[in-house]
């Protein structure tokens, strides 16, 4: 069964974003701090330093079940930490929810207006991408 993924991602020009793991009680998928040496996930050194900070968490969802449950789960967490999200945004950061769908089977879902309003109020962008054959 093909699965999809929902990534919650934050960027900031300078701040260390690792605090989001404990703040949201979500496991970190990948993160780095601005100005630290670039490296691959297994620690191989790359040239240069990271120009900005990044933090992400990744939730897998079976396409049969849809993404709505995971999306609501994350948005509810974000609403609880609304002040932190606003602080991130107003200080030059960026917040995204990135939905990744496998393109091998029929799948879909709906995002109701109340959820869209929450995302809009939080200033969180919603991204979609279908990966053929996944």
């Amino acid at each position: 069964m093909a699965n999809g993924f929902l990534l919650l991602r934050f960027w900031h020009p300078t701040r260390d974003l690792s605090y989001f793991s404990s703040l949201l009680s979500m496991p970190c998928f990948r993160s780095w701090k601005e100005g630290t040496p670039r490296q691959t996930p297994i620690g191989r050194a790359l040239t240069g330093n990271y120009p900005e900070s990044y933090w992400s968490s990744r939730l897998e969802f079976p396409c049969k079940a849809g993404f709505s449950e995971n999306l609501n789960f994350i948005v509810d967490k974000l609403v609880m930490e609304e002040d932190c999200i606003h602080d991130l945004k107003t200080s030059g950061g960026k917040a995204e929810l990135y939905l990744q769908f496998p393109g091998s089977i029929n799948n879909g879902g709906s995002i109701d207006s109340s959820l869209l309003k929450k995302l809009g109020d939080l200033g969180v962008d919603l991204l979609f991408e279908v990966f053929p054959g996944m």
Partner: protein, 153 residues
């Protein structure tokens, strides 16, 4: 500097009889200056004939404009020659994961170079190297392409 370096030590084959080849001469002359400067810097007196490979490498670097960004990342105006969209490579099955790992989004172009490095296009059109694709999968191997070298899950 050796006079004949401008015509690659072959004044018969490489001539500019009518003076209408300013670009070619400029490139060769600039290459000669570059070669001489490199040799001087290295404490070497350059007497040999520049070979096509040397010129090709030097010219390639000029054309690709390989440079470092403000953060020191290796960036290029275009990915290495022979790079292909990730969907057309054996790393296609790892596309989702890689985008999450490198912070790329739906509109970001991800390509794989012939040496299996991940290159991601930046908003300004330049490309940044993210290292070997094998570092981005649990097995260190590609998951394969759909319907070709990978079983359906």
């Amino acid at each position: 500097m050796h006079d004949r370096i401008v015509v690659q030590n072959n004044p018969v084959k490489y001539i500019d009889p009518n003076g209408k080849e300013p670009v070619t001469i400029a490139v060769v002359t600039t290459y000669a200056a570059y070669t001489a400067a490199t040799a001087l810097a290295a404490g070497i007196v350059y007497y040999g004939t520049p070979v096509a490979e040397d010129i090709g490498t030097w010219l390639g670097n000029q054309l690709f404009n390989e440079s470092d960004s403000d953060s020191g990342e290796e960036t290029r105006d275009r990915p290495p020659t022979g790079s292909r969209p990730i969907d057309e490579t054996a790393w296609s099955g790892d596309h989702q994961r890689i985008k999450g790992e490198v912070g790329a989004g739906p509109a970001d172009n991800v390509v794989i170079s012939p040496d299996d490095h991940i290159w991601v296009e930046n908003p300004d059109g330049s490309f940044t190297d993210y290292g070997p694709a094998s570092d981005y999968t649990n097995s260190g191997k590609p998951s394969g392409r759909r319907g070709k070298d990978r079983k359906c899950r």
